[in-house]
Amino acid sequence: MNALTPLKEIAKVIRSKNAGPFEITFDIIFRSKDDYLRFKETNVLTKELFCTLYNVSPAKIITFGYFDILNAVKATIPRPRAQGSVGETDMHAAQQHAPLLDILVPWPRRS
């Protein structure tokens, strides 16, 4: 029996970080191959959903993919502005992951 479960209760790591001064990268890493494959099969997190959550156009996505050997999903987008200059809101881009935490995933109900 499945229940809609927030991604933060499923994934081991959900984070964002600079990838150089001009890109932000997002990592979602799972505890096990089983969890990863189950998540992948739900097809809940698509490039389209990611674009909606971050209000970016699909053409701007630098990387979006499921990486089987790492049990991880990764997405990379351009920074809205060059790192550390006027208007910076997050020097290390370490707090840009929050919208991913509450993605609802059909997941086996815990007994």
Partner: protein, 451 residues
């Protein structure tokens, strides 16, 4: 040719502080070299743009003192890269001065190699005219104007300068390098000893942040390069490298986790396997290195674009909060009317409780019950930035808005001065790939001896 090379990395960033008891446990494992990266663009353009170091001089003295003690007492080579954070020539010299000072204090003697990474502007202009410089990622094309504007320009060296030193001067105790690709000091000793460069680079990628690839994340880590694999294990007994933690670190701060471009080629990790061989140790196989047809290096540069001042204010009035968009527009109009002729300046509101952290990426539209409003102004002089910031602050404090019933002021200010001058504001203006003849000529080496 060695069948096994052991590398100890005590911390991911020199100057962040060592775990000293664990470091000596690491030294007792008889590594072939101690390597520490001290570089990153991650804390912003201030280092390259204003010429400051990432950590204080005192912090570097503290960490380097411990490394030099191991170097002197155990004859263990110490390789440091990206001196000072940005890896400019000035910071290589500053690190050398620190080494000299400690050696004198402790009565140590060392043979030292210094590698420089500042790139002359004329050289870059020539490459630019020859079409040999391309943007790296979502960056504008480089222009000669930006080359002139940059305060400092460095290139990330590959392993070649390290290999030259290791081959021609095996007696060198300490290498202090300018800006280097982060894995270089870890990879170089392995490559010199005939280990597959792909394994050396991949180990370098994993270990350059110290034991950040362990869980819980730590500092001291040992890497063991072998003929057909490498292994990593943190020194601290309470930490473990697991298949997940090591694979996770392969993703960290990378645009793409399987194909990593570096000086001279690309690391292909698409067929790697990660194997748990003890409770705390992981073995990795299958890394591949694909040399690029033309040798390229990454250029990094930053410029000063002016001076910054800010104000901080809190808002608790729900009517004001509901009218924030209106207020913002009015204040920006008011400021531009007051300062029409002062040259270029920029004003930005950071509104915590609304979208202060994520700005245009924020999907939540419901504001919090209180806001922290930071007004940021950048202008040509500090005086002008503070003056414009003052107008922005008083404009926000007293701005009329529809439905206003609290007429005394819109903001609660926590600190004085109400306008805060913050000094230089810098910007990365060079982040490009440059095609060069080889990996050696751009990075001059100097040998020194401390007796």
């Amino acid at each position: 040719m060695m069948s096994e090379v052991k590398i100890l990395t005590p911390v991911g960033m020199l100057g962040y502080g060592l775990n000293i008891p664990d470091f000596w446990k690491g030294v007792a494992l008889k590594p072939d070299v101690i390597t520490v990266d001290s570089g990153s663009t991650d804390s912003g353009p201030q280092k390259l743009g204003a010429g400051v170091m990432t950590c204080s001089r005192e912090a570097y003295v503290k960490d380097i003192s411990v490394l030099l003690k191991a170097c002197f007492e155990h004859r263990l080579p110490v390789h440091i890269s990206s001196a000072g954070g940005d890896g400019t020539n000035a910071h290589v010299d500053a690190f050398f001065e620190i080494v000299r000072e400690i050696a004198k204090r402790e009565g140590y003697g060392f043979k030292v190699a210094l590698i420089y990474a500042d790139i002359p502007r004329d050289y870059i202009r020539g490459k630019l005219r020859g079409g040999k410089i391309q943007p790296l990622g979502p960056v504008d094309d480089l222009t000669e104007k930006e080359v002139d504007a940059a305060t400092n320009i460095v290139a990330q060296m590959g392993a070649e300068p390290f290999l030259k030193i290791l081959k021609e001067r095996p007696d060198i105790d300490v290498i202090i390098a300018g800006r280097a690709y982060d894995p270089v000091p870890i990879a170089a000793t392995g490559i010199k000893n005939g280990i597959d460069p792909a394994l050396c680079w991949h180990l370098g990628k994993i270990m350059e942040c110290g034991a950040a690839c362990a869980e819980p994340q730590g500092r001291n880590i040992l890497g063991i390069l072998k003929e057909d694999c490498f292994e990593v294990e943190p020194i601290a007994q309470g930490e473990r490298c697991t298949v997940t933690s090591v694979a996770a670190h392969t993703l960290y701060e990378k645009s793409n986790p399987l194909y990593l471009h570096g000086p001279g080629g690309m690391l292909d990790l698409s067929e790697c396997t990660y194997e748990q061989i003890t409770d705390r140790r992981v073995r990795v196989r299958g890394s591949k290195f694909i040399p690029s047809p033309n040798y390229t290096v990454k250029l990094e540069g930053a410029k000063k674009i002016g001076f910054r001042s800010i104000f901080i204010g809190g808002a608790r009035d729900p009517i004001f909060i509901s009218q924030w968009d209106y207020v913002q527009t009015k204040v920006l109009e008011h400021v531009s009317e007051s300062f029409p002729d002062v040259g270029r300046y920029e004003l930005i509101y950071h509104v915590y409780g609304m979208n202060g952290v994520m700005a245009e990426l924020e999907p939540t539209t419901q504001p919090a019950h209180e806001l922290c409003i930071i007004g940021e102004v950048a202008a040509e002089t500090q005086e002008l930035a503070t003056a414009i910031c003052g107008r922005m602050r008083t404009g926000t404090l007293h701005c009329p808005y529809p439905g206003k019933i609290a007429t005394a002021g819109n903001l609660g200010h926590p600190v004085t001065p109400l306008e805060i001058p913050l000094g230089d504001v810098c910007k990365f203006n060079i982040y490009h790939i440059m095609e060069v003849e080889n990996g050696l000529d751009l990075f001059p080496i100097r040998y020194e001896e401390i007796r």
